[in-house]
């Protein structure tokens, strides 16, 4: 099955084209099932790939390339031929991501069939969703960063289309522009990084770039520059501080589309890019440290904003940003496995939260948490599934979020950066608080708006079915992956054997370096198989082996035991503040700390800062325009024109006086000469003409012969 992995992005792409161009716009059309069936096929293929990778029946990384194009270039007098293949590279993270993306997309599409049924652009929506998923899958499977970048940009386009799906309204139009431009800002960094990489390595193939890094060929400064560029791209796509401003607005699109953006595709792409090019970051430790702190800032700032928002989708958007901060922070401190683990579990529970929120909004026709309340009695399935998701994201023991967030915190703890750890711990408690707040406001207690409450009803089966499946995964995926250290086996941390700059000192024979690296040549990393084997062959020593090899994945025992109680305390605090119909305790707290709430409600003034930046740039541009119009145009362009006119007037005068006179003179001379010569000849005498011909001919002959 793995040799057909290239089909996984192509099938949804074909489905998208079919739905876009083949189907008529009709609210009762069965055509969305094309997308559902296509995605189900992809999910089946992904699951078989994942099970093959997990059981070890195929060697990872699996790479297969097809020739695409090649070109010759001459650099510094030498000419090179560059081959640009296109292909698939499936390693553990890619296999996991394939399943996550296809599964979430499938759930979203099934859900959307019910959710979007009365929309006038029903088919177009499903075309966009399939296209979006296809782009993400393209990024996941591609062995070539150039193809990856294309998919990355197609995803930007798809998110633009989906966020602005209801383009008749101003909100979505503004939001789609904001999202597109903010992510493009990040993409510019990625673009520069890719150019730099190609200039240094001469290839876009991930395995070759890894090989290049692994041997320490990359100079430290270049490695840092490339890592910064890649990080910048990931910051835009995965909504990291300060580029996260687009994500809260991106919920203007259809809610299932938001679920796709927040769980499976758009924001996961940034984290996945960082993980895919993790060796670039390993070679630049300072940039990794910066990434950790950027992730930390993102997590904290977004969680704080989520504390005060009353828009159910906005709270979820802030929580996505915050969780992405967790992943980035984990990757920054070297917790590769933890970051990707959290990406996986987060995809399940965040898709569930958005779909659940969509179900609620569908039912009560408002986003405002203050107008909800008491929905648990009306929407029993949504209530329980959202409860499961909230338990998972808060980190209640034995749900998926508990395992992944625990691992992230443990990684941060073992990085030795205590301020970072305590901020992230506090943010984790804030997560539990704001999610509980959302839950209490929406479902608990009594109805606040009785009319809306009266109309509320449970959603149809097509919507609740995906919720139940996702709830199951949100509860159990952590346990399933954490068991037997499966997550370490599936998501092994890449290594580089030589840090940049060390290659000069270590004159190790190249053969040993090669044996430790080059996944393309059929080998895994030296460390990974030994770990995997140790776990397979010696289950009795599993715990000990895990402790020995993955001790960074476990918190100190006291902290590990205390964490659930801290989380429960945080949830209890939320209950204390928001219990009762008018949540008086929260309101009084809000009155006491009014300035803080204002700052949070204004989203840390970051949007205003960006507005100011735009206005400032506008002013600068206006000034530049003024200088251009008044100085450059007046002095240089107009002045140059005047000078040219004077010069050409002089030139004209010279032309008329001298050149034309000369021309006329030659003409006149020829005329005079002709008239004079004609006088010599008697008209019409054939023999006389003949004589001149003979004379001329004999003169010419003489000239030629005597030469």
């Amino acid at each position: 099955m793995i040799e057909h992995a290239y089909l996984i992005p192509l099938i949804p792409l074909a489905a998208s084209a079919l739905m876009h161009f083949g189907a008529k716009e009709d609210p009762h059309s069965p055509a969305p099932w094309i997308g559902v069936v296509a995605m189900a096929i992809c999910l089946g293929m992904s699951l078989s790939i994942l099970s093959a990778v997990a059981s070890g029946s195929v060697a990872v990384p699996y790479e297969h390339n097809w020739p695409w194009f090649s070109f010759a270039a001459s650099i510094g007098g030498k000419s090179f031929i560059y081959d640009m293949p296109v292909g698939v590279l499936i390693d553990g993270p890619a296999a996991v991501l394939l399943v996550v993306v296809t599964l979430v997309s499938l759930m979203v599409q099934i859900y959307s069939i019910a959710y979007m049924h009365d929309d006038t652009r029903y088919m177009r929506y499903f075309g966009f969703v399939s296209f979006f998923t296809a782009s993400m899958l393209g990024l996941v499977v591609s062995s070539n960063l150039l193809v990856g970048f294309m998919s990355w940009e197609l995803m930007g386009l798809a998110s633009y289309l989906l966020i602005g799906f209801w383009f008749e309204k101003d909100g979505p139009t503004e939001a789609q522009k904001k999202a597109f431009m903010t992510t493009k800002l990040g993409d510019s960094g990625l673009y520069v990084a890719l150019l730099f990489l190609f200039a240094k390595v001469g290839s876009f193939q991930l395995t070759q770039i890894h090989h290049f890094y692994d041997k320490g060929y990359m100079p430290a400064a270049a490695a840092a520059a490339i890592a910064i560029g890649l990080l910048f791209g990931a910051m835009g796509k995965s909504a990291q501080f300060p580029l996260f401003i687009w994500l809260p607005d991106a919920m203007e699109g259809p809610t299932p589309g938001s679920a796709l953006i927040h769980a499976a595709t758009m924001v996961a792409a940034g984290i996945f890019l960082v993980s895919r090019t993790y060796f670039c970051f390993l070679a630049a430790p300072q940039v990794m440290h910066a990434a950790a702190w950027i992730g930390c800032a993102t997590a904290f700032l977004a969680a704080a904003m989520a504390l005060v928002s009353y828009d159910i989708k906005r709270v979820l958007a802030f929580s996505t940003v915050s969780q992405l901060g967790f992943m980035m922070c984990a990757l920054g401190v070297g917790g590769y496995t933890a970051g990707l683990f959290h990406l996986t579990t987060h995809a399940f529970f965040k898709a569930l939260l958005f779909l659940g929120a969509g179900s609620v909004i569908h039912s009560v026709h408002t986003n405002d948490l203050r107008l909800m309340g008491g929905l648990s009695k009306k929407m029993i399935v949504s209530f329980f599934t959202i409860l499961a998701a909230i338990a998972a994201i808060s980190g209640i023991p034995f749900t998926s979020g508990y395992y992944s967030k625990d691992m992230i915190l443990a990684n941060i703890w073992h990085s030795g950066d205590r301020p970072l750890f305590f901020i992230m711990l506090f943010t984790a408690l804030m997560t539990a608080f704001y999610m509980s707040r959302l839950f209490i406001l929406a479902f608990w207690g009594e109805a606040r708006d009785h009319e809306k409450h009266h109309h509320a009803h449970e959603s149809p089966f097509l919507m609740t079915g995906p919720l139940v499946l996702l709830a199951f995964l949100a509860l159990t995926s952590g346990f399933m992956l954490d068991r037997h250290g499966l997550v370490y086996k599936l998501l092994p941390k890449p290594t580089i054997s030589v840090m940049p700059g060390e290659v000069a000192r270590e004159h190790a024979p190249p053969a040993t370096l090669v044996s430790a690296t080059m996944p393309a040549e059929g080998g895994e990393h030296a460390a990974a198989p030994s770990e995997a084997k140790a776990e397979e062959h010696a289950p009795a020593h599993e715990a000990a082996a895990e402790h020995g090899e993955h001790h960074e994945g476990h918190l100190p025992h006291a902290l590990h035991l205390a964490l659930p109680f801290l989380v429960l305390g945080s949830i209890g605090f939320a209950f204390f503040l928001y219990k009762g119909p008018d949540y008086a305790a929260a309101e009084s707290l809000k009155a006491t700390f009014a300035p803080v709430f204002t700052v949070l409600d204004r989203r840390w003034y970051l949007d205003d800062a960006f507005d100011l930046l735009v206005v400032f740039c506008d002013k600068v541009a206006a000034l530049a325009f003024w200088i251009d119009a008044n100085v450059v145009d007046r002095v240089f362009v107009d002045g140059w024109g005047l000078l040219m006119r004077i010069v050409s007037e002089i030139s004209n005068l010279i032309d008329a006086l001298f050149v034309d006179r000369t021309v006329d003179g030659f003409g006149g001379l020829s005329l005079d000469l002709g008239v004079g010569l004609r006088g010599l000849v008697k008209d019409g005498q054939v023999q006389e003409y003949l004589m001149y011909v003979a004379i001329a001919f004999s003169l010419a002959a003489t000239l030629i012969l005597t030469r």
Binding site: D683, G684, V686, Q687, A694
Partner: protein, 105 residues
């Protein structure tokens, strides 16, 4: 006296013949004389053709064949010339070239 004939001999004869033709064409007043002189020049060229062919490419007869062609064309041409002359004579009652100046510019 037994020296063999060379190309130069033929060319000398042809050259003299050509000069006689030129001289005749320039000095004869009678158009018929001029036409005869032109015939002399043709024949000078024919001698050259035959001589060059004989000395430079003795294996073939291209030059001689070409000379026969020239004679044929010259005969045809002189027929046209004489016809023209006859037409002019009927109109002007003269055969002297200096009287034919209808084309003066």
């Amino acid at each position: 006296m037994n020296a063999p004939l060379t190309l130069a001999h033929y060319m000398t004869v042809a050259g003299l013949l050509f000069l006689i033709g030129v001289f005749g064409a320039l000095t004869r007043r009678n158009i018929i004389g001029i036409l005869m002189s032109i015939e002399l020049m043709f024949n000078a060229a024919n001698i050259n053709l035959a001589a060059f062919d004989r000395f430079l490419h003795p294996e073939g007869v291209t030059g001689q064949a070409l000379a026969l062609f020239v004679m044929t064309v010259a005969a045809a041409e002189i027929v046209v010339g004489l016809a023209l002359l006859l037409a002019i004579y009927r109109g002007t009652d003269t055969v002297y070239a200096e009287d034919f100046n209808l084309l003066r510019g």
